[in-house]
């Protein structure tokens, strides 16, 4: 596969190869290799990830009612999302209906996680791809204050506030302990913000870190404990008793009032800080619209937030479900997790073995048999030390999931695109996106970019913050109408279950479509498969040579400096990648550094 075309991209691996590994500033493991042409434009992209270990290796033979607790431990950030997906899969298999309150409380917890995760992602994990922290030290605090006041009514905006912050930052940078700010390419010409915008963004980064305190309390209230909330097959594990006094036991009015105040403050923070920052930053980068990848042609979402309990049909979901393929934005395909023809995983370029690798397998029939053989004519290195991968052979631990054979992008941008093209069902999404486009004075096609993906996350955060308010009101109305039920335990006893059953659970995790597939036999788990968002987006090539979303997003992006691949980090980070299950113990000698090799 020297030069070939796929999905509208011309893949050419003849130019110099740049390896970025690991592709992260402060976190785990994903490796990207690209080929650059003579103008430092990416003409071939290869992304490879650490192993996704099928959960069946841990869950087989265990109690289905406990699966959520194990899935919560897969990963530190998707915790609640995995748990929710897991209980939904078991409930689907056993046809268990949950009470309205349980559905609403689950929605609130998932919405809360969405808002929280998007905020943390933007400020902590992604902003520094756009914001130059070191440049913030040069900012004029008075002008920073004027800038902040011009974009929002947020009260923390005085020159004194920014001066204190700048001093704190200076001290921190001078101490040499850069912490979250280490391993970045400060001063790179791809940074476009003036020092004042940089300082304002750093201030809000710190405020967002502090704001987390409020947000996590909601999970404690509904989940009983944190940071690993409890979940329950059949409902939620918290009882409701509005008349109870004090902070122990059941959820009472005092606890609900606290939830309400946190929800209101979250919305305020998103409206007054996150969105204005996003717009301010985007206004300096609107000339840099690379990184769209598959988003203009193939996106998919399972949808989430059922308005009424137990109705998982597309029309009842408050976050859109559907698939768009071949760039036909006016045709939304119905997505069904249980249709064996729709979701299939291929391993042609993944280090696994199938009996027939020309075909994909639906997760119900999923097989995870490792077959680690780094090879191919362009492979360089050894089994334990890879210098160059060869994408014509197997090259990743990530499988290649496809929807009806198509590589698709999942995540906030996909969901917002699906919402945008259905204005009747999702007027909020359509109106908010139009307002953002108008404010930035860019055409709708600007959405299909790294910047668009980052903006879509913010827009979705606002949408979810707003939905939280509505779901909370619904919960209160239902309780006041006399329904305090939170769990259905009719089928708790395995003796009531069929001998064999199978089901699928879905959510939209902050970073994209998450599915769990369970097979139950004699009351125990017989098979359990997860397809996580990063498997979709980080997918390697498939049998037809189709590239995955990360790979596509890097295509045709010019690098300002070949030895400082800031643009690659920016684009990959815009997906909020998550490769759980990778474990590394650090030596006391130091920080793991991102290495860039050019060959």
């Amino acid at each position: 596969m020297g030069v070939y075309e796929t999905q509208g991209f011309k893949m050419d691996n003849s130019g110099k190869r740049v390896v970025v590994d690991p592709i992260c500033r402060i976190e785990g493991h994903l490796r990207v290799e690209v080929n650059l042409d003579k103008d430092n434009v990416i003409r071939n992209a290869v992304s490879t990830g650490t192993m996704w270990r099928g959960l069946e290796v841990i869950l087989k033979g265990r109690d289905p009612r406990d699966a959520w607790a194990f899935t919560e431990r897969i990963c530190g950030v998707c915790t609640g999302t995995h748990a929710l997906t897991s209980v939904r899969a078991v409930e689907d298999a056993l046809a268990i209906k949950i009470p309205e309150n349980a559905n609403t409380i689950r929605n609130l917890m998932q919405l809360n996680l969405q808002v929280h995760d998007h905020l943390v992602h933007f400020y902590h994990l992604h902003a520094l791809d756009w914001v130059d922290v070191v440049s913030a030290l040069k900012a004029d605090v008075k002008r920073t204050s004027e800038l902040a006041q011009s974009i929002s009514n947020w009260p923390l905006s005085s020159p004194g506030y920014f001066r204190d912050l700048q001093n704190r930052l200076k001290k921190f940078v001078e101490s040499g302990q850069l912490g979250p700010f280490s391993n970045a390419y400060w001063g790179n010409p791809a940074y476009k913000l003036p020092p004042e915008a940089n300082l304002m963004a750093v201030a809000h980064y710190l405020e967002a870190l502090d704001f987390q305190k409020e947000i996590v309390k909601i999970h404690t209230i509904f989940g009983g404990k944190n940071p690993h909330p409890n979940w329950l097959v059949g409902g939620v594990p918290c009882a409701i008793n509005l008349n109870e006094v004090g902070a122990v036991g059941a959820i009472n009015m005092e606890r609900l009032n606290l939830v309400k105040s946190i929800i209101d403050r979250s919305k305020e923070f998103v409206e007054q800080v996150y969105i204005p920052d996003l717009l301010a930053i985007a206004s300096f980068y609107k000339g840099w619209l690379h990184g769209g990848g598959l988003s203009s042609q193939a996106v998919m979402s399972y949808g989430d937030f059922p308005e009424r309990a137990n109705d998982h049909s597309t029309a009842n979901l408050l976050l859109p479900r559907g698939a768009i393929i071949n760039g036909k934005l006016d045709k939304i395909h119905e997505v069904d997790l249980k249709d064996p023809e729709q979701i299939q995983e291929f391993v042609t370029h993944s280090w696994y073995k199938y009996a027939d690798e020309s075909k994909g397998l639906h997760p119900f029939d999923g097989v995870t048999e490792p077959n680690y053989k780094p090879e191919g004519p362009n492979f360089k290195g050894t089994r334990t030390k890879i210098e160059n991968l060869d994408e014509s052979a197997k090259y990743s631990w990530i499988k290649a999931p496809r929807w009806r054979g198509h590589a698709v992008e999942v995540g906030p941008l996909s969901r917002m695109v699906l919402g945008y093209v259905q204005p009747k069902q999702f007027p909020f999404i359509k109106e908010t996106i139009d307002a953002v486009l108008k404010k930035l004075d860019v055409p709708v096609t600007a959405l299909f970019s790294t910047l668009g993906r980052t903006a879509a996350r913010g827009i979705e955060c606002l949408y979810c913050a707003d939905l939280q308010v509505k779901q909370f009101d619904k919960l209160i109305a239902n309780i006041k109408a006399g329904d305090s039920s939170t769990a259905n335990v009719e089928k708790w006893d395995p003796a009531t279950w069929p001998k064999e059953a199978k089901g699928a659970g879905f959510t939209e995790a902050p970073r994209g479509a998450l599915g769990h597939w369970i097979k139950i036999k004699d009351g125990k788990i017989d098979n359990y498969q997860c397809v996580v968002p990063t498997t979709w987006n980080g997918s390697p090539r498939d049998t037809k040579g189709q590239i995955g979303a990360y790979e596509a997003s890097l295509m045709n992006t010019p690098l300002a400096k070949a030895d400082e691949p800031l643009e690659i980090l920016r684009t990959i980070h815009s997906f909020d990648p998550c490769l759980a299950c990778s474990t590394h113990v650090m030596s006391p000698d130091g920080q793991e550094m991102s290495s860039v090799k050019i060959r």
């Binding site: 087989k60 590394h584 650090m586």
Partner: protein
Amino acid sequence: MDELRCEVLVLGIGNLLWADEGFGVRCVEKLAAEWQVPAGVTVMDGGTQGLYLLPYVQGAKRLIVFDAIDYGLPPGTMKRVEGDEVPRFMGAKKMSLHQTGFQEVIAAADLTGQLPEKLLLIGVQPEELEDYGGSLRDVVKARLDDAVAAAVAALRDWGFAVEARESKVGAGDTALGMSAYEAGRPSAEAASRIGDSRVLGCVG
């Protein structure tokens, strides 16, 4: 409501699905089961929550962390590290691309001016990490008592009355408790538990 504030936060971190990575979590499980701590002391299973633990760290006056740490010592060696030395040893937990190492949590607490006054890390050198679904190895499991005792001693030093419970109480999620977790593990054949080498961990 200030469940986020406490005098001492005793935090166990790591991923219990990855053999000795679970050391920190097992320490707090044991501490909570066998010792009665006074009000003001919070014992928490932090798992791999990374940055999401920041509010708890910011809210604590003193912090004790249990973790598996690569000290470059023989497996099963326990070592205490205090104060400024702690962040240097804590770059370890990077369980996924977006998950922040605990080192970053400490840096973020510092940057926001809310670093606990005292930091104590009680770590053990792991023997095996690359065993998904496995439990603590014997040499590491053998350090649980010492590690918990070290935390109890530190708490008493700081003036907190920690008392042994007369009988153990259950801790954590029962299905994930160490004995249920170990007993329920599927056999290697049933789970196709082979070929665990991972390419990206090996790239130099």
